[in-house]
């Protein structure tokens, strides 16, 4: 009974007026925050901006924005992108969780730049790792026991992992101000370890959105196996001391970093999901050729998997394009030119051409099926090289992503 009531309460949050007003409230809030960044104080300065955002001034600007947004929603009829509201809600929850965890930070004397092991974020990352691994195991078990609750558990663990990851990143941002007099504080998108966490969260949330919208839980095993591989890589990075918060080199001290890097990972994450859909396609096709298998019932049909891979690319490609363009804009401001044929840039172009060709064969020439499934898998390998391989094997202007 209570469950039903709760359920209707939650559904109510995402319907009609409520969700409509909330969408515009969030838009207003973000506009207020942006206006504060542009007009508050003397130009943008990260530390200054963050403190401003948390001060009375921030509350006034953001609050006013939110109020205006909510009020404006009354005049905007039915025009809102209500599908985005849960994402904003998720971010707010993460921010609240982060605020909660700051209370558990150890005493100042136990925190130092040289020894960062006591920070809470590291423990939350560990929890995230466990959640993602657990979720991967559950998703695989789900393939064999589709009727049981294990599928639901897999989904819940994956969601919990996303929240843990997002919270840990926000917490790391806060923690970067805790030592050396707050001198080295910066957004947590500056090294491989941090962006890996970001990648897990983005990959999982894109997949989970697909799962809830298209009932594609059978694909989860493939996504989470990819994520698990990444989790082990992250643990290895931590073990060789690459997880420490380090000061930013001057080239990275720019607001562009906070736009360019996360947007790129929306692209990478979406391509990872496309790769998983491609693998699921190939797997199912094999099963079908072998004859009937109980597992066939669990999987989305070949046609659906094909569509899902395309959808993932359709999310990733524009994000990746925009990220590359914004990267070029940043390069024009920091390196003296928007394009330098730097290995990272060139590989981004290669990835772009690869998926551009994918969209061509799909949209203009109507290909589908096996070739495209393989294409999505290979495309992700190319993406991986662009992401990790370039940093590890090739030199260039993006060399701060290197393992030191």
């Amino acid at each position: 009974m209570t469950a039903a009531v709760e359920n209707s309460f939650f559904n109510g949050l995402y319907q009609g007026r409520v969700v409509h007003a909330r969408f515009w409230l969030y838009v207003g809030l973000m506009t207020g925050a942006s206006l504060l960044a542009i007009f508050g104080g003397n130009g943008y300065d990260e530390n200054d901006y963050i403190y401003r955002l948390l001060s009375i001034q921030g509350v006034i600007w953001c609050g006013a924005g939110a109020l205006v947004g909510a009020a404006a929603s009354m005049f905007l009829g039915g025009k809102s992108l209500s599908k985005l509201v849960p994402w904003f809600d998720g971010l707010i929850v993460m921010a609240l969780l982060m605020a909660l965890f700051t209370l558990f930070e150890p005493h100042d004397a136990l925190i130092s730049y040289e020894d960062q092991a006591n920070l809470v974020s590291g423990k939350i990352v560990m929890a995230m790792n466990l959640l993602f691994l657990f979720s991967a195991v559950c998703y695989i078990m789900y393939l064999f026991a589709p009727e049981s609750f294990i599928g639901k558990m897999a989904t819940m663990a994956a969601w919990a992992g996303v929240y843990a990851g997002g919270t840990s990143l926000l917490l790391r941002w806060y923690e970067s101000y805790l030592f050396l007099g707050g001198d080295i504080g910066h957004a947590p998108v500056s090294n491989l370890y941090e962006v890996f966490i970001l990648l897990f969260c983005i990959t999982c949330s894109i997949y989970l959105a697909f799962e809830s919208r298209y009932q594609a839980r059978g694909m989860g095993a493939f996504v989470m196996v990819l994520v698990s591989a990444g989790v082990f890589f992250g643990i290895w990075l931590d073990s060789i001391g690459q997880a420490d918060i380090k000061p930013l080199v001057p080239a990275l001290q720019s607001y562009w970093m906070k736009i360019h890097v996360p947007l790129n990972f929306v692209g990478y994450g979406a391509f990872a999901v496309a790769c998983a859909a491609g693998m699921a396609w190939l797997f199912r096709e094999r099963l079908e050729r072998r004859g009937s298998s109980p597992m066939l019932k669990v999987f989305p049909s070949l046609d659906q998997l094909d569509q899902l891979a395309y959808k993932a690319v359709a999310v990733g490609f524009p994000a990746f394009t925009l990220a590359t363009i914004l990267g070029a804009a940043w390069a024009a401001e920091a390196w003296g030119g928007y394009w330098s044929w730097d290995p990272k840039e060139t590989w981004a172009l290669i990835v772009w051409l690869f998926y551009g060709a994918y969209l061509h064969v799909r949209i203009s020439h109507g290909w589908s099926g096996k070739t495209l499934a393989v294409w999505a898998v290979v495309g992700f390998l190319v993406t991986l090289f662009c992401f990790v391989g370039v940093n590890m094997y090739l030199s260039g202007l993006h060399s701060y992503g290197r393992l030191a």
Binding site: Y113, E114, K311, A357, I363, H365
Partner: protein, 557 residues
């Protein structure tokens, strides 16, 4: 031969049958890989060493050492532009026409093509009322047409989606044109300006050589500063520059990385820095027992020659800060600045040339003086520097005196009398008042006897004073194509969103009279995102039910 027939030929046929656009994109992608694997724009000698003469000439003739400017790569890009133009010229008129013409009627044979069909029955109503009500269903653009007692209604959503295609392809063309303009009419090069100095010429890499270009103005560097994090990592590089145009000072401004200066279409970026010829003074502590200390005044990038011994010191670099990790391996890192140091290459008659780094301050660990320090690299590579503790703290004249006094006393004393000799030496130099760190002093002096005598040089060079001058490394670039590229990029993003997210959805309603009431046939077609269209079509049916009052009246029928 059978291998050819079985594997290569089908592959080849497949390649040949692939649409041009895809082949072109993939060829460009693969070609781009080469330039990232093969280091570009290096010295020819290095390439020759690396690949040997045969491959060197093969690669060179293909322009692989400056691949992104090789004729064939430019040709590929040109071909891409041509293909894009052809594609647009071929498709745009057709697409525009398609978007304009909306056929309202639906032929009977077209029903088979529909993804969704549905049939409803209506009570007898006025046709115009039905049309009016249907046209009120929001979100669709409706058109109606009557023919032979039938009413056709057509609704469209996203019928401008083909603009996505047009925008994306023309945007790419615009970006490529912008890129061409940048290369053709722009420049990008570097200059190094010492503090207080002026420069008006940039140099840049062209192919595998270096060329230079005069700027229409001069740049003066008034000041260069580096800020450090407590860890020793650089935090900010800041140059204060003045632009001098035809003898007049026009602009004075600070630049840092990420915040360039813009003047007359040229952007001036903070790119690097280095020593701009600092003046350094070294003390030469003669090791011939004469206790003499000579002063050598030198300058970075210049060579100082000691006339007495014929030894020359080619001063290569000076650094005011040298942050080192002082922790033992395996322990938590502990960074400490060990003070200013000068690097020079020491050459002399009968000596092996070595690189020396001489520090100004004695080496201190936890407040304990460990004496003066120099580092020596036998290979001349900075990575091979090895610490060499001299023993006495040479910045303290008394320790230099003590070293000599001890030497004199110890030479006269018998074995094991060194403690006595040391005590006597201390009394001679310091008088009756013993220094507090007498123990350390003893160790240092004893160490000095060993280490200073093992030096092959007739003197120890120790940095004494400095007057630091930096040079700031600037990058100057003019890029007339940049704004064109931004316009193209904006169009590209916008177009992609239309192309990928807007699908053209069409529905038709065919209404005709039947025995009792009317028959409404609904059909729907979408060009993509069929999963979403399923839902949308059902939503439309529900709305039609509502607006036509079917849910109530349907029961009566």
């Amino acid at each position: 031969m059978s291998y050819y027939r079985e594997s290569i030929k089908p592959l080849f046929l497949r390649m040949a049958s692939m649409p041009l656009a895809i082949v072109l994109l993939m060829v460009l992608a693969i070609a781009s890989v080469i330039g990232t694997v093969l280091l570009q724009n290096q010295e020819h000698a290095d390439y020759l060493n690396q690949f040997g003469p045969v491959w060197y000439w093969v690669f060179r003739s293909m322009g692989l050492f400056d691949m992104y400017h090789a004729w064939w790569f430019i040709g590929l890009l040109g071909f891409l532009m041509a293909a894009l133009s052809f594609c647009l010229w071929h498709n745009v008129p057709r697409m525009l026409k398609e978007m304009r013409s909306r056929k309202i009627t639906l032929a009977e044979h077209a029903w088979k093509r529909m993804q969704h069909t549905h049939e409803l029955s209506l009570p007898d109503m006025d046709m115009s009322v039905v049309t009016e009500r249907v046209e009120k269903v929001a979100g669709w653009k409706w058109l109606s047409y009557q023919e032979e007692g039938r009413t056709y209604l057509r609704g469209d959503k996203g019928r401008y989606h083909k603009w996505g295609y047009i925008l994306v392809h023309s945007a790419l063309l615009v970006v490529l044109i912008g890129g061409w303009m940048s290369v053709q009419f722009g420049f990008r090069g570097n200059m190094a300006v010492p503090e207080g100095g002026m420069e008006s010429q940039i140099s840049y890499v062209k192919g595998t050589g270096v060329e230079s270009l005069d700027m229409p103005f001069e740049v003066r560097c008034n000041n260069f500063e580096i800020d450090f994090f407590p860890t020793g990592a650089p935090k900010e590089f800041r140059s204060n520059l003045t632009i001098i145009d035809q003898g007049k000072e026009v602009v004075t401004s600070d630049i840092i990385v990420n915040e360039p200066l813009f003047y007359k279409g040229v952007r001036i970026y903070q790119a690097s820095f280095g020593d701009g010829g600092s003046k350094v003074g070294l003390k030469l502590f003669r090791l011939d027992g004469s206790k003499r200390i000579d002063v050598a005044k030198g300058e970075v990038y210049k060579t100082y020659t000691d006339s007495e011994s014929g030894i020359s010191m080619e001063i290569t670099d000076f650094k005011p800060f040298n942050v080192e990790n002082m922790a033992a391996p395996g322990q938590a890192k502990k960074f400490q600045d060990i003070g200013p140091a000068v690097d020079f290459i020491l050459r002399g008659p009968g000596l092996k040339p070595v690189k020396v780094r001489s520090f100004m301050n004695p080496f201190m660990v936890d407040g304990q003086n460990q004496g003066s320090l120099i580092m020596v690299s036998l290979s001349g590579d900075n990575r091979d520097f090895q610490s060499f503790f001299l023993g006495p703290d040479l910045t303290n004249p008394k320790e230099w005196d003590l070293f000599h006094a001890f030497g004199q006393k110890a030479s006269g004393a018998a074995d094991g009398g060194s403690v006595e000799a040391f005590k006597a030496a201390v009394r001679e130099v310091y008088g009756e008042k013993m220094p507090e760190d007498i123990q350390d002093l003893g160790i240092r002096t004893l160490q000095g006897v060993n280490s200073l005598s093992s030096l092959p040089w007739p003197f120890v060079p120790v940095l004494d004073d400095f007057d630091q001058v930096y040079y700031t490394g600037l990058q100057l670039a003019r890029d007339p194509g940049m704004n064109v590229v931004w316009v193209g990029s904006a169009l590209l993003t916008f177009g992609l969103c239309i192309m990928l997210y807007v699908s053209h959805r069409k529905v038709w309603l065919v209404i005709e009279a039947q025995d009792r009431g009317m028959r409404v046939r609904v059909a729907g077609l979408a060009n993509r995102n069929l999963m979403a269209f399923d839902r949308e079509f059902n939503d439309l049916l529900r709305e039609l039910d509502d607006t036509l009052g079917l849910s109530k009246q349907g029961e009566q029928v």
